[in-house]
Symmetry: C2
Subunit: 323 residues, 2 copies
């Protein structure tokens, strides 16, 4: 397979220029007219490190490469815009397989109002994706950074935790008490994460003072937000929303489900600090197309405390220590 031929076939699949995009793929560079301010993030998905082709379909892998990048834009409250990809193709992966991955990416792009504008194809030892995404806002101050949380703010989390960690822990085993459909749902969450773009925009519009996506685990990412904002975070463990099946899997594996939810990565939910005055979770949830749970508050001080009902502290561990 030639790189030029593959690139040409990828380009045939890309949408024509329009909107902010003046020149799409095929020239030396894409030309856009952003207007206002842009948020730009890059992310990588590498075979053998972030995924294995035995476990995930190529469509899933392509979509996930875009999803993880878009999750960073969601955490800024950005309106999704453009994506660019460097696709590294290993020996033996044929053109149709590459296009399957691109089609997965294009399907998620369409579902999230993102335009895959262009990219590059190169040979390399393993399948890998480097994705650059650009999101938009009318002014730079509209983006939500990590460093604006203030004592007294409520902590709001989108969606549910623990599904991806549970999926990795489960593997292809059968676990008593966990139905096949529940197991499939856990795997789907790990293989096909969805970026919380609507939720990010809704939280930004509702006045979020700081926001981060939970890609490394709630404990770790809450720590990043606390450090950037120079505040402490107090989280109530009993308030944490666990994904269906996490409790069953944890019980069967002899694990603490809360520990799994707090330390497991790849949930791609959003954690936001937001002033509690007038906070309407039901409305936010509807505007953001995602469940919203108040899980704690911002306090003066530093670090993250996750308290169990009895007052005992839960120590978030790195996911590697769990696996």
């Amino acid at each position: 397979m030639g790189e030029f031929e593959l690139l040409a076939r990828v380009r045939e699949r890309l949408p024509p220029p329009g909107g902010r995009i003046w020149v799409g793929a095929g020239d030396d560079a894409a030309v856009t007219v952003p207007g206002g301010a842009t948020a730009t993030s890059v992310d990588a998905l590498v075979e053998g490190v972030h995924f294995n082709r035995d476990d995930a379909g190529l469509r899933q892998v392509g979509a996930k490469a875009l999803a993880t990048a878009l999750s960073d834009l969601a955490a800024m409250g950005a309106e999704p815009g453009e994506a660019y990809v460097v696709l590294t193709v290993p020996p033996g992966l044929d053109e149709e397989a590459c296009l399957e991955a691109v089609d997965g990416m294009l399907a998620l792009a369409a579902a999230t109002d993102t335009t895959l504008v262009g990219g590059d194809v190169t040979r390399g030892p393993v399948l890998a994706f480097a994705v650059t995404v650009v999101g938009h806002a009318s002014s730079p101050a509209r983006f939500v950074r990590r460093d604006g949380a203030r004592p007294g703010d409520a902590l709001v989390l989108t969606g549910e935790l623990g599904a991806a960690a549970a999926s990795l822990l489960l593997g292809d085993r059968d676990v008593p008490g966990l139905s096949r459909s529940a197991a499939a749902e856990l795997h789907r969450r790990q293989l096909e994460p969805l970026p919380r773009l609507d939720a990010g925009i809704a939280l930004a519009a509702a006045g979020a003072t700081a926001m981060i996506d939970v890609s490394d685990g709630l404990g770790a990412d809450a720590g990043h937000l606390a450090a950037a904002s120079r505040v402490g975070l107090r989280i109530e463990a009993e308030a944490l929303p666990l994904a269906a099946g996490v409790a069953e899997l944890a019980a069967a594996a002899g694990r603490d489900p809360l520990q799994l939810a707090v330390s497991g990565g790849e949930d791609y939910e959003l954690l936001a600090a937001i002033p509690p005055q007038g906070l309407d979770l039901a409305r936010l949830s509807e505007a953001g197309s995602a469940g919203m749970t108040r899980i704690g508050e911002v306090v003066a001080g530093e670090g993250v405390e996750i308290r169990r009902p009895g007052g005992q502290m839960l120590e978030p561990a790195g996911f590697d220590q769990l696996g």
Copy 2:
């Protein structure tokens, strides 16, 4: 080595926000206020495919990864702006080595008024760079595309051809008639290409109707420009500027120097079509900090003709056929 630790050390080296950049590395995304229009291009440099660590130093490799991406912006006539990098680190490459590559990138960034804003670090089987660059113009129409060449336009080429191809052909051999310093200069051109950003801006300002960077060889890239503009290009072989040492190397290797110059890639010069009225190459050369040579003209029709002095045609070959 931990990815987080390396990422933190890379970030320490990045310049603080300023100018168009409101938020730099360390948040979920970088925030910029572009103003006008942007040109965006992505490029990759992969160990074992585009370079070998035996032949090139890590500073050189890092700089080249950025240079090849910036060359695409030069070909748009863009003002250089921001760069983002995904750095893939193989087992056994230590933190200091990675930082050497980053420092090479930062040095070229400083030399080209480019800001390396941020990026990501991941593990992977080989050293690889995926670089995204963003350039600027006051309006989208100011960028020079490939498709605007018109019959009667002059063809202008920056710099000289053949150095990179000669370097690869030379390897570490000694060639009679080629001095050590000339050989070293050929290798330097292959290992440390410089993007022609000033020249691109000068050619755009002088009214270039189409432009492309010569990364795949003059024959191939002239063909891309001709096809995009739906015109023919007539190039005079005797007008082609050969880099010093190319003739000597070609003679020693029993090759045609013109063939080497036309078919060899990686020169990263610019080829522009430009109306001949008032064309002042000396002034352009000074404004663009690069030699400028008129090498032919745009004609009605299609394809690329490269004519030897006697009228015989020179057939550009892919570089693989030469190696």
